[in-house]
């Protein structure tokens, strides 16, 4: 069961945790659009502590202007569901 569908507006979590994460800091707090669901994968943030739990992963597209304040390109990242919230 996936929480977000293609086209959904989502915001990447603001907080940058102390430990391992695959949420690059440059995407933190920024809003993008779900391109597609990418299946279910182990959450690396917990796996490094020996806790193996899988979650849906989404390809999320961010406009450069949103990430950097300028630029016309886009950047697509794969983000685990718990990295994301509905865009405000």
């Amino acid at each position: 069961m996936t929480r977000f569908g293609a086209g959904a507006r989502v915001r990447a979590r603001v907080a940058d945790p102390d430990g391992h994460t695959r949420l690059p800091r440059y995407a933190c707090g920024h809003t993008g659009q779900v391109v597609e669901a990418r299946g279910t994968w182990q959450l690396p943030d917990e796996a490094v502590h020996g806790v193996f739990r899988s979650e849906p992963v989404y390809a999320v597209r961010f406009d450069a202007a949103e990430l950097w304040g300028s630029g016309s390109h886009s950047v697509i990242l794969d983000l685990w569901e718990s990295y994301l919230e509905e865009a405000p």
Binding site: H73, V75, L77, D78, L79
Partner: protein
């Protein structure tokens, strides 16, 4: 890995890790050697170029490749090398140019692109590709029209990307192996036109 690493501290660190894994009974020296040999004797951009050339000449294969990269790679005999991740082929068009980066480390589909070049692992490429791709591409000698949309795919998670470059004009008479030889590793990364 490109270049010689025997003298680098990283080689010693890797060896210490290997020794810890062997001591813990998780792997043997023979298994490490076997994996490395398999990776480095078969991993090559020639493989990715073959996939691209086949997609250029077979519309049905092109569709299957764009829909399911792992299955399409397996169709050409590259299934074993592309396990454990989601292979996504991203196709260039006259309007869209794709390029790949791993901002967190240096991930890409090694079996299809060969060992990654040192620049792909550099902090400069990893940080600038997502921030100013047009300037990075220009430094590679690739000047794209302002009207071309650039998509940068960050392999930060479990997806690995293969760029399908645009087929050159005037190549209608070429066979698949000639077409494959027109595709370079940088073309498969998106830092060259093909």
């Amino acid at each position: 890995m490109s270049g010689e690493h025997d003298e680098l501290p990283v080689a010693a660190r890797v060896r210490r890790l290997e020794e810890r894994m062997i001591a813990a009974g998780l792997a043997t020296d023979e298994e490490f050697d076997d994996i490395l040999e398999r990776v480095f004797t078969s991993a090559s951009p020639v493989n990715g170029a073959r996939i691209v050339a086949h997609a250029w000449t077979d519309p049905g294969y092109r569709e299957r490749l764009l829909a399911d990269g792992n299955a399409a790679a397996a169709e050409l005999g590259f299934g074993a090398g592309t396990q454990g991740y989601l292979l996504k082929a991203v196709e260039n068009t006259p309007a869209v140019h794709n390029m790949i980066v791993c901002t967190l480390c240096s991930c890409y589909p090694t079996a299809l692109l060969g060992p990654s070049p040192s620049w792909y692992k550099s902090f400069a490429y990893r940080s600038r590709a997502v921030r100013e791709p047009r300037a990075v591409l220009a430094e590679f000698g690739l000047e794209l029209p302002d009207s071309t949309e650039i998509r940068v795919w960050d392999a930060n998670s479990e997806s690995r990307y293969l760029v399908v470059p645009l087929r050159a004009e005037g190549t209608d008479g070429m066979d698949e192996s000639e077409l494959a030889s027109s595709v370079t590793r940088n073309g498969l990364i998106g830092t060259a036109i093909r």
